[in-house]
C-alpha cells in the first residue's frame, strides 16, 4: 500500500470510519447528523491532501509564487462545491429533525421508526384475500 505512507490519508480514513460508525450505530438522530458531517469533512480532507505536495504553496497567482510549487487547485475547487452541498444537506436534515421531534417527541431512531403508522391500524384485512 504505497498510499498509506502518507498519514493524511490514514487520518482521513480514520475520520471517515468514525463518521460512518456514528451514522450507522448511534441512535440519536442529531448524533447521526454530526457523524455525517464528520464523514463529509474527512472526505474533503482527503481531497485536499491529494492536491498537496510537500513544501507547496497556495495556488494564488497574485504573488510571485512559483507555479511549479503550487498545490493542485482542482481538488480545492471541487471541495468548495462540496462544502456548499454538505451544508444544504445538513440544513435540510436538521429541519426534518425539528419536524420529527414535534410530531413524534423523540430523537431516538429506533423509537421513531418503530412507531406504527396510524393508517395501518384502521381497517383490518377483511375479505377472503386471493381468489
Amino acid at each position: 500500500m504505497r498510499l498509506l505512507h502518507n498519514y493524511h490519508y490514514a487520518a482521513a480514513m480514520a475520520l471517515f470510519c468514525i463518521g460512518l460508525y456514528t451514522v450507522i450505530v448511534r441512535r440519536n438522530i442529531i448524533k447521526k447528523l454530526i457523524g455525517l458531517n464528520i464523514m463529509e469533512t474527512s472526505v474533503f480532507f482527503f481531497y485536499i491532501s491529494l492536491g498537496y505536495l510537500d513544501g507547496g504553496v497556495a495556488p494564488i497567482h497574485a504573488g510571485s509564487a512559483d507555479p511549479a510549487r503550487m498545490v493542485n487547485p482542482i481538488p480545492q475547487a471541487l471541495i468548495l462545491t462540496g462544502i456548499v452541498v454538505a451544508l444544504s444537506v445538513t440544513a435540510l436534515a436538521l429541519s426534518m429533525v425539528i419536524l420529527l421531534y414535534r410530531q413524534y417527541g423523540t430523537l431516538d431512531v429506533d423509537r421513531l421508526m418503530r412507531e406504527e403508522e396510524p393508517a395501518a391500524e384502521g381497517a383490518a384485512g377483511e375479505g377472503e384475500g386471493g381468489a
Binding site: L3, Y47, L50, M96, A120
Partner: protein, 494 residues
C-alpha cells in the same frame, strides 16, 4: 457545428433555470406556476427529440462547458444510450408534471405548491444532468442536487409519516453520496483526472489495483443505495409509498434507474473492458444482490396490503432485473437493462399515477378497497391493467421485449441461475399484479364504495396515465425503433 450541439446543455439548464425563476413567478402570480413549470420541461423534451438521429452511430456527442477542453473543463457527453435515457426522463417528468397540477391540490398544502414545482424542476434538471455529464465530479454534484430535491419532495406534504420516510431516505442517501464522493477522490488520486473518457484511458495504465477496486466498491454501494439495490433498499418502500403520487412515479420510474445508469456509466465508460476483470468480483456480488432483489422484492410485494407499498416493492424487484442485465456483461443483457429502464419507467410511473387516481378520487390506498373499482373508474383501471401487463412482461408490451433481452443476455453469459431467477421474478410479478387486476375487474366490491358510476378522475390526470400505459404498448410493438440502436450502442459500450 450546428446549433444542435448545444441542445444537451440547454436540456439540462432549462429546467434548472426554471427552478430558479419559479419562486419569483410564485410570488407574483401563483396560479400560473403549474403552467409555467411545464415550459422548460416541454422545451427540453422538444430539444431531446430534435437530437434524435443526429448523433452518429457508435459515437457520442461531446460538449465542453464554457469552451474548456475536457481534462479541465466539464464535459457533457451524450451517446445513444444516454440520449435514450434523457428522452425517457424528459417524457416521464413532463407527463407527471401535467398530472401534478390537479393531484397536489389534494395532498400538498397551498403554501408549499410553488416549492413543489421548484423542487420538481430542480429534480428533473438534475436527472438530465446526471445522465448526460461526462465528468465524475459533476456526476456527484448532480446526484446531490437530485438527492436533495428528492428528500424534500418526499417530505413535502409535511405529515409525520412523510417526514419520517424522508428522513430515513436522508439517513441512507447522504452517507451514500459521501461514498460516491470518496470514490471519485480515489479515482482522482490514481489518475489525476475527472473526465470519464480520460479516466477510461488512464485507468488501464495506472497500477493501483487496490485503490481502483475500493473505488469501484464505493461506487457500487453509493449508487446502490440511491438505486435501492437489494440489501440497501430499506428506504425505498417508505419513501416511494408516502411521497405524493407524481413524486413516487418519478422516484420509482426514473430516479432509481438514473442511478442504475450511473453505475452503467461507471462500469462501462470509466472502468471499461480492460478493468472489467478487475471489478469482476464486485460485479458478481452485485449480480447476487440483484438476484436476491428480484425474489425478495417480488415476495414482499405479494404480502403487501397497501397498493403503493406494493408497487414500491415491485420496484425493488425490477431494479434487480436491471442490475442482472448489467452484470451479464453482454450486449444483449445491457440492451435488456436499458430497455427495462424505459419500460419500467413508463409502467411504474403509470402504476403510481393510477394509485394516485384512487387516492385522489376516493382516498383509497388499500388493495382490498379496490374491489370492483372499474365500475367507477374504468379508464384508470384499464390503464393500470395495461401497465401491470408490462410489469409482468406479457407480450406485446415493452416489458416482454426487455425481459427477452435480459434473459438472452444472461443465457449468453452462461448465467443459468439468473435466468431462472428472472423467470421466477416474472411469475411473482404475475401474482401480485394479477391479484389487483382481479380485484378491480372481476370482483364486486361494496356497492357504496364505488357508487358514482360515471365519474373518473379529471382528464388532466387521465391523459398522462394513458400516455404512459399506451407507451408501454407502443414500445412493445414498435421495439424495432430502439432495439437495434441500443444493441449497437451497448456493443460500443462494451
Amino acid at each position: 457545428m450546428g446549433a444542435w450541439r448545444h441542445f444537451p446543455i440547454f436540456m439540462i439548464t432549462l429546467p434548472l433555470l426554471g427552478a430558479v425563476l419559479m419562486p419569483f413567478l410564485g410570488y407574483l402570480r401563483e396560479r400560473w406556476v403549474p403552467y409555467a413549470a411545464l415550459l422548460p420541461l416541454a422545451a427540453s423534451t422538444l430539444l431531446g427529440f430534435l437530437l434524435v438521429g443526429r448523433i452518429p452511430a457508435g459515437d457520442h456527442l461531446s460538449y465542453h462547458l464554457g469552451g474548456w477542453e475536457p481534462p479541465f473543463g466539464i464535459e457533457i457527453r451524450v451517446d445513444h444510450v444516454g440520449l435514450f435515457l434523457m428522452l425517457v426522463v424528459c417524457a416521464i417528468t413532463l407527463l407527471a408534471l401535467v398530472y401534478s397540477r390537479r393531484y397536489i391540490e389534494k395532498e400538498v398544502s397551498p403554501g408549499r405548491r410553488t416549492a413543489y414545482y421548484v423542487l420538481y424542476l430542480l429534480m428533473s434538471g438534475a436527472m438530465l444532468g446526471f445522465t448526460a455529464t461526462g465528468d465524475i465530479f459533476n456526476l456527484f454534484v448532480f446526484m446531490e442536487i437530485l438527492a436533495l430535491s428528492s428528500y424534500a419532495l418526499v417530505a413535502i406534504t409535511g405529515n409525520r409519516n412523510a417526514v419520517r420516510a424522508a428522513f430515513k431516505y436522508v439517513l441512507m442517501g447522504a452517507p451514500s453520496s459521501i461514498m460516491v464522493l470518496l470514490a471519485v477522490g480515489f479515482l482522482y488520486s490514481v489518475t489525476g483526472t475527472l473526465n470519464m473518457a480520460d479516466l477510461a484511458s488512464r485507468i488501464a495504465e495506472s497500477g493501483y489495483t487496490e485503490v481502483l477496486v475500493v473505488s469501484y466498491i464505493l461506487f457500487v454501494i453509493g449508487f446502490g443505495v440511491k438505486a435501492a439495490l437489494f440489501p440497501l433498499h430499506m428506504w425505498l418502500p417508505d419513501a416511494h409509498s408516502i411521497a405524493p403520487s407524481p413524486i413516487s412515479a418519478l422516484l420509482s420510474g426514473l430516479l432509481v434507474e438514473v442511478c442504475a445508469f450511473a453505475l452503467v456509466r461507471i462500469t462501462f465508460s470509466v472502468f471499461t473492458r480492460s478493468a472489467t476483470d478487475l471489478v469482476g468480483g464486485t460485479a458478481d456480488a452485485v449480480g447476487v444482490a440483484a438476484a436476491a432483489a428480484v425474489l425478495y422484492g417480488g415476495i414482499m410485494a405479494i404480502t403487501q396490503k397497501d397498493l403503493k407499498v406494493m408497487i414500491a416493492y415491485s420496484t425493488v424487484s425490477h431494479i434487480g432485473y436491471i442490475f442482472l442485465g448489467i452484470t451479464a456483461f453482454t450486449a444483449e443483457g445491457l440492451t435488456g437493462a436499458m430497455y427495462h429502464m424505459l419500460d419500467h419507467g413508463l409502467a411504474k410511473a403509470c402504476l403510481f399515477l393510477c394509485a394516485g387516481n384512487f387516492i385522489y378520487l376516493k382516498g383509497y390506498r388499500r388493495i382490498e378497497e379496490l374491489r370492483g373499482a372499474w365500475r367507477q373508474m374504468p379508464w384508470t383501471c384499464f390503464a393500470f391493467a395495461l401497465a401491470s401487463i408490462s410489469v409482468i412482461g406479457i407480450p406485446p408490451t415493452a416489458g416482454f421485449i426487455s425481459k427477452w433481452y435480459l434473459i438472452l443476455g444472461n443465457i449468453r453469459a452462461g448465467k443459468w441461475l439468473y435466468t431462472i431467477v428472472l423467470l421466477s421474478g416474472s411469475i411473482l410479478a404475475a401474482v401480485y399484479c394479477l391479484r389487483i387486476i382481479y380485484y378491480m375487474f372481476f370482483q364486486a366490491g361494496k356497492e357504496e364504495a364505488w357508487e358514482d358510476a360515471s365519474r373518473d378522475v379529471p382528464p388532466g390526470m387521465l391523459v398522462p396515465v394513458w400516455a404512459l400505459s399506451l407507451g408501454t404498448l407502443f414500445f412493445g410493438v414498435f421495439s424495432y425503433l430502439l432495439i437495434p440502436s441500443l444493441l449497437k450502442a451497448s456493443a460500443y459500450l462494451l
